[in-house]
């Protein structure tokens, strides 16, 4: 199937019927929104914060997509469903970089259109304590720098992930986003 002579087909990388192709094109079209560049969206000192409940199912979604089948992360199992799980720390724990993946959802103001053309380029992450599956954490991001390197614009954030109940600091990170 070819929509345009100069572009690859929607189904070039995975098989689809014409109904699926139309659904994909409609979905992609629906994502088109006027948005600022990330550089313009963020000012140094901006702080954003959200809570994330790390359910067993969320952990499975994350781990399956990166094909990491370590049983220490399993607080959910097919047929049995929710289980306490087992890890060297007691019950199941969260994969070490799971919370880093969700930082994106915090540092980009989710109430605004997504800043197109942004690329995550760097992270310096400290895994301070294991996070139990089922914990609710607060992810807080603060813009600490905006800089230009080799004619490219970067926004730097520092991140803290804490347990909402105990206040325990689980994870800390510095990360850069390349902006248009």
């Amino acid at each position: 199937m070819t929509e345009n002579k100069t572009l690859p087909a929607t189904d070039a990388l995975m098989p689809m019927t014409e109904i699926q192709v139309r659904q994909v094109r409609d979905f992609v079209d629906s994502l088109a929104e006027e948005s600022q560049t990330y550089w313009d969206m963020v000012a140094i000192g901006d702080e954003l914060s959200r809570e994330l409940h790390i359910t067993p199912e969320l952990v499975i979604l994350y781990a399956d997509a990166v094909e990491d089948y370590n049983p220490w992360y399993e607080g959910w199992k097919m047929n049995t469903w929710k289980i306490p799980g087992e890890s060297p720390f007691g019950p199941a724990v969260v994969p070490p970089l799971l919370v880093s993946h969700f930082v994106l959802s915090v540092q980009f103001d989710h109430t605004k259109p997504f800043a197109v053309g942004s690329i995550h380029t760097f992270h310096d992450s400290e895994i301070l304590e294991p996070i139990p599956v089922g914990a609710t954490v607060r992810i807080t991001t603060r813009a600490i720098d905006k800089f230009i390197k080799r004619e490219r614009r970067y926004v730097r954030h520092e991140v803290h992930v804490t347990d909402v109940t105990s206040g325990r600091l689980y994870f800390r990170e510095v990360r850069d986003i390349l902006s248009l």
């Binding site: 990388l13 969320l58 994350y62 990491d68 060297p88 995550h120 380029t121």
Partner: protein, 148 residues
């Protein structure tokens, strides 16, 4: 190391005696478009899964989110350092090249340094992820306490 839990060595495969220069056996993954475009990963941005949109933005193919290769590197590190990687560890990754759909990515690690700490060492390991042609996609290092 004999202590295992659910089939995995609790302390991993690296011990206090593991020397500088030791090579970690990595993990190998295919950049599967279905996973790249899953809701939890890249669905919100068609550059991660739609060949049409990716071509319109100048990409040769949809690109995987960098965090997926960081997750692969973390999986390798848990294999080698076990529970030690889940407490007091550090992971530094720079995404130096785009991982394109259908590329096969392998992670690598080499112990660069051992700094005495407590009863053991803090290991520094150079890590990277590359495609089958040897093009590096992600480079960095990790620090992990062993036997401390």
């Amino acid at each position: 190391m004999t202590d295992t839990l659910l089939g995995r060595p609790v302390q991993g495969l690296v011990t206090r005696d593991t020397p500088v220069g030791h090579t970690l056996v990595g993990v190998k993954k295919k950049a599967a478009i279905q996973l790249m475009g899953s809701r939890l990963w890249g669905r919100f941005n068609p550059n991660h899964w739609d060949p049409v949109y990716a071509a319109q933005t100048g990409l040769a193919a949809p690109i995987q989110t960098g965090e997926m290769s960081s997750a692969y590197i973390a999986e390798m590190c848990v294999n080698h350092f076990g529970a030690n990687f889940l407490r007091g560890a550090r992971v530094v990754c720079k995404y130096v090249g785009s991982t394109l759909a259908n590329e096969v990515i392998t992670t690598h690690g080499v112990v660069r340094e051992k700094t005495p700490k407590g009863n053991g060492y803090r290991f520094t390991v150079d890590v990277w992820a590359e495609n089958e042609a040897g093009d590096k996609k992600t480079v960095g290092w990790v620090e992990v306490d062993v036997g401390v």
